[in-house]
Every structure is written in structure tokens, then in C-alpha cells.
């Protein structure tokens, strides 16, 4: 789950990580008031959206006077950044910067632990640094039973700074950030850039955090920060009913049990020249109610011209699945052609039950894919 920069800054501040004073604004007048209140020679006006690349999209601007603040705030509010419409901006004291650094904690699949990533090349796209000069990114695997003791924080901070005072300041930030990471079940906690000011202070200038969805149940305050997009609301609704749904935009609706099989089905549609309209995983069981809910969601997409149902009968047998589908489609009235492919336990019995209905029945995934693509034309 993503949160906004200003929310992450609040979390940073509550863990004692030094961030500049900033004020969240929802309109131009608020921004001007914020500028007055901050009483700073220069401020930065930043779009608050759940995506990166704000700078390149014109979502981050410096201002030294009210006129500029007003102008930038007006321009940024309402801006479309990668499909996200800016409805909030953050007005923050601008800091003089001597040098910029990169710091993050992130879950690492390979080491099966949290890793701390550090670089003296901060402020830019860290992916670029990773590709062009990987030696400039330091990775330290954190032992979850030990965390970040003083010596490790110091050792890491020496990768960024040479002066012991700055090392101590950075080490303290690294320990606090890890504490925040662990105590909120984050999957990413990033400071980019961490800066050194001309008067040798170490500060976090940006704040980015994402959280583990599986752990939100034990962090109600963070869960409350969730702001779903329209698409995400649809996906959330699906999830609450026990299935996963992602809208894609093609014309062949898919309903599959299992995420891997669902992706393989989409791939197959493409292989045969069609376009999947969605990813829809109805999970383990295939009871009629779930099928009805899933089909309704699927058919609410007006682009869908054909539906492909691909079910692997495992613990639930194919004949039971077939009966479930027949029950379900008695309640769903649709003229859209339905291709059904059933494999697994008792598949012949299952297919037998579907014979003579309006379903197009396929034997293999390949056959089903070809039939669906053909029916679109």
C-alpha cells in the first residue's frame, strides 16, 4: 500500500528523523498562507501523488515569493501525472544542499531479508545508478534477529560520510528509519535525497514509504491512509469477495482459478492474436455465488465481447464445477458467447454436463484460446 510523501514525512518526524517543516495544502490560498507561515526565503511546492517522476512532470517547483507560490500551486493542482490528478500539494521550506545521498530499506527476495541500500549518488533515479554504476550502491543485509546495532549503523553511515559528526547523525537516522520500517511493516522506506546542508546538517528532503498489505490488519492507523483509485476500488471490491481482478482493456474476458493459470490464460489469448480484457482469479473454490459475482464484475466492462472460463478441477472436481457454472448462468442473462475449458479431476464427466448448453466447450487451453479469439471476430 502506498502513502503520500507528506504522510511519510509525518511518520519520519514521529520517529525523530529530521525533516524540514512543511504544510499540506489543498488549494492556492492555502499554499500562499503556508508560504507566509513558513517564513522561509525559499519554499518548494510539491505535488502529492501516488507515483514517481513528479519532477519531470512539472510537479515540483521552487518559489521565493507569493506570486510564484500562487502560480506554481495553481499549475500543479489539477495536473495529471501518469494518470493521477493532483489534488494536494506540499509547501515546504527549501534547504540549501551541499550534497545528496540515497538511503532505503527494502524487502529483498534473494537474501530473504530486509536490505539497507545506500549511495553517495542521491537525488537522481536510483535505478539508473544501479544500472550504470552498480558499485556506487552499497547493500547491507539486515539480520532480523539483530536489527541495526550501533556498529552497523556507523559502518553504513561511513559509506556516505567521512566526518564523524555527520556519520553519527546519519547512523542515528538509519537506526530510526529501520525502527519505523519494522514497526509499521513497511516494504519500502526510502529517503531520496538525504542531504548535507552547507552548515553540515543531515536531513531527509523526501520521504517515501510503502507497506505490506498482509500486515495492515495490525496497523489500523496506516491502513486508514489508504486512498484507492477507481481501478483499485474495483480490485478491492473483488478482493473482498474472495477473488482478484485487474482491468487490462482487451475484448476477451477471462475467469480462471489460480493466479498463475490466469496469467497463462491471458498469455495464450495473446499468443493466438486476441487481447485479454482482464485478469480474474476466482481462487480455490468455484461455488456458484462466487462465479455469479465474478461474472457480473467481468461483464460490467462494456468492451468484453467474449468470455473465456478456464478452470482446473483439483480438489473441487470438474463435474461439480460444471454444475456450479450451470447454476450460475441460470441467474446471469447474457448474450455474450462463453467459452469454457475444464481440465483435471473428472473432466469428462464435467464436459458431458455442459454438452447441449449454450456454452462453447473446449478440451485444451489451446483450443479454448483459439475459439475465444475466433468468436471476437
Amino acid at each position: 500500500m502506498k502513502i503520500h510523501e507528506y504522510q511519510a514525512r509525518d511518520l519520519f518526524a514521529s520517529y525523530g528523523i529530521p525533516v524540514e517543516k512543511s504544510i499540506l495544502c489543498r488549494d492556492v490560498n492555502d499554499a500562499v498562507k503556508a508560504f507566509q507561515e513558513l517564513d522561509a526565503p525559499m519554499v518548494v511546492v510539491k505535488a502529492q501523488v501516488h507515483t514517481g517522476g513528479r519532477g519531470k512532470a512539472g510537479g515540483v517547483k521552487l518559489a521565493t515569493n507569493e506570486i510564484d507560490v500562487r502560480k506554481h500551486a495553481a499549475n500543479i493542482l489539477g495536473l495529471d501525472i501518469k494518470g493521477f490528478i493532483v489534488d494536494r500539494i506540499l509547501v515546504s521550506r527549501a534547504v540549501d544542499i551541499e550534497s545528496e545521498f540515497y538511503v532505503s530499506y527494502v524487502i529483498d527476495r534473494k537474501s530473504k531479508s530486509t536490505i539497507l541500500m545506500l549511495s553517495r549518488e542521491g537525488g537522481v533515479d536510483i535505478e539508473d545508478v544501479a544500472h550504470t554504476t552498480p558499485e556506487k550502491i552499497h547493500k547491507i543485509v539486515i539480520d532480523p534477529l539483530i536489527g541495526v546495532p550501533d556498529y552497523l549503523a556507523r559502518q553504513a553511515a561511513f559509506k556516505l560520510f567521512d566526518d564523524i559528526k555527520q556519520v553519527r547523525a546519519a547512523a542515528s537516522i538509519l537506526q530510526k528509519l529501520y525502527k519505523l520500517f519494522v514497526e509499521t511493516d513497511a516494504s519500502l522506506a526510502e529517503i531520496n535525497p538525504l542531504v548535507l546542508t552547507p552548515d553540515k546538517e543531515v536531513k531527509a528532503i523526501d520521504a517515501k514509504m510503502t507497506f505490506d498489505d498482509n500486515a495492515l490488519y495490525r496497523h489500523p492507523k496506516i491502513a486508514a491512509l489508504f486512498e484507492p483509485t477507481e481501478e483499485e476500488k474495483k480490485e478491492q471490491k473483488a478482493k473482498s469477495k474472495g477473488f482478484s481482478y485487474v482491468h487490462l482493456g482487451g475484448e476477451i474476458g477471462c475467469m480462471v482459478n489460480g493466479a498463475g493459470l490466469a496469467m497463462a490464460t491471458m498469455d495464450m489469448i495473446k499468443l493466438y492474436g486476441g487481447n485479454p480484457s482482464n485478469f480474474l482469479d476466482i481462487g480455490g473454490s468455484s461455488n456458484p455465488t462466487k462465479v455469479i459475482e465474478a461474472m457480473k464484475l467481468l461483464l460490467s466492462d462494456k468492451d468484453v465481447k467474449v468470455v473465456l472460463i478456464n478452470i482446473f478441477g483439483g480438489i473441487t472436481r470438474c463435474d461439480d464445477v460444471a454444475r456450479g457454472l450451470l447454476d450460475a448462468f441460470e441467474q446471469i442473462k447474457t448474450n455474450i458467447p462463453i467459452v469454457i475449458r475444464l481440465t483435471g479431476t473428472n473432466e469428462k464427466e464435467g464436459r458431458e454436463l455442459l454438452k447441449g448448453t449454450h456454452f462453447h466447450v473446449a478440451e485444451t487451453m489451446g483450443e479454448a484460446g483459439r475459439m475465444a479469439v475466433e468468436l471476437v471476430k
Binding site: I107, R109, K110, K112, S113, T114, E127, H131, D143, P144, L145, V182, D185, S187, D212, D213, N214, A215, Y217, R218, S244, V246, L248, V256, N257, G258, A259, G260, L261, A262, M263, A264, M266, D267, M268, I269, K270, L271, P276, F279, D281, F312, G313, G314, I315, T343, G344, T345, T364, M365, G366
Partner: protein, 291 residues
Amino acid sequence: MSILINKDTRLIVQGITGRDGGFHATKMKEYGTNVVGGTSPGKYGEKVSGIPVFNTVHDAVNATNANTSVIFVPAPFAKDAMMEAADAGIKLIICITEGVPTLDVVEAYRYIKLKGANLIGPNCPGLISPNQSMVGIMPTMIFKEGRTGVISRSGTLTYEVVYNLTENGMGQSTAVGVGGDPIVGLYYEELLELFENDPDTDSIALIGEIGGDAEERAAEFIKKHVTKPVAVFIAGQQAPPGKQMGHAGAIISSGSGTAAEKIAAFEAVGVPVANEPSEIPQLLKKQLLNR
């Protein structure tokens, strides 16, 4: 005959008095798995399908000499269950539970390694050595004893591949679903090594997915250490970047983890990649014939 589980497997089921635990304990026992006990605090003395219930894993191990455990407890308690199993001396821990917080898995995994044990999962279907032992929630009827090892990040897709293998006369030595979460236990490299060293495995089917770089590392590992024929299928060529597909495993992080990259990695080391799951059997047979 197999890797990880066999006729000597002595299994306990953690959370056996729960709905899922009880159901699958019964299924496993029916299949012939040697289910020697189950745990549920405070339910000592009860029985589930004839399987004795203990208060703690420690008690269960003392009484039954169990060496393997499968976990069906709800997600908030999964970390504790994994650590309890490791602490009690269980050497292979299979966690079926889905939705376990990632940092819980990180911590439990560290502890399990500390205790010299192995973890499969969480959020996995388990594993099966056909006609010997099934631990998890696999649909046993589609499996057949044989000489192909199966490793998969996916559930039903595994079954699809296994179904095709079985239909084509290729039985399985062991099939393992490693689980779809960001952090899970045994993965491609460890399992490829086990299959490579298993005298009763002739060929290996590997089923990957978009996200992460585990497939790329597996390709590298195969190049260096695997002499047996391998065939691969990668799901998610059509997944748009950044979209989460059903489980946390299937997410493409910007600039890496795409199906195209993974397929290229395998092809670069001479491992054939199937266009459809149904192609796996012939890709393996072709290599077995050419040996």
C-alpha cells in the same frame, strides 16, 4: 524415489482442529501420508480422523517422533507456528497459510535456518511425492509416480503442467509448489540441486512467473550445476508493469522481472521455454531422447 518427503515422512499438522487443517489432514491421511499427529493448544487428547491432537509441537514430536510439519493456522499466528516447529526439532516445515506478513516470514525464516531446518511456503500448495506422501493441499488424483521433478511458483498452473505430464505418460518424482509471496523458503536453486542429486529424477519442469529475479538466478544455476534436462514455462507475458496479479509474487517492478527477460535468461543457457503449459512434456521428452 523423491526429494524432501517420502514413506519415511512423519507428519504433524499444526492447526489440525481448524476447518482447513482438519479437512486437509484427513485428505493427506487418505492419500497415505504418514500423519502421526496434530496440534491445537488445549485440545490434547482429542482426535481428528483418528489422528491424535497435542497441545504443543514439542509434545507432538516427543510422542510421535515427527520430522515434518504442515501449518494451517491463520496468518497472524503463522510466524509463531513456524518458529514453534523449528524449535521442536522439525526439519521440514511447510506453511500453507496465505496472507502472512512479510516481516513475520523474514524473522521465522531466519530462525528456521538457525535451527538447521527447511521451510516451504508460506502461501504455497505444498508438495507431493506420488504414491508416497503428500503434504499440503495438492489434488492428489492428477499425480502419478514417475521420474520428472516439478518446481513451481504457482498453484493451479502447476496442476495444469502436472496434468499434461501425467497425460503424456510422464510421472513425477516430487512436485513442489514454492509459494507466491515475496519471501518464501526453499526456492529454485535449492530444489534444482535436490533434483539434480536425486537418482530417481530424470528431468525437471520449472514453472515461473513474472516478478523478482529468481528465474534469472535459476537459469544461471542450471548452467553451472544442472546436467538433467529442464523445461520451463513463464506465466505473465501479458501482465502490465506494476500491476499486482493475484498474489504478491506476480508484480513487475520497473525495469526488471518481466516474462521476456526471464525467457531470454533461460534461452541464453539452452533451457527450452514452452509457449503453453501443454508443451512441457514434449520439450522434456525431446531432451531425454537426445541424451
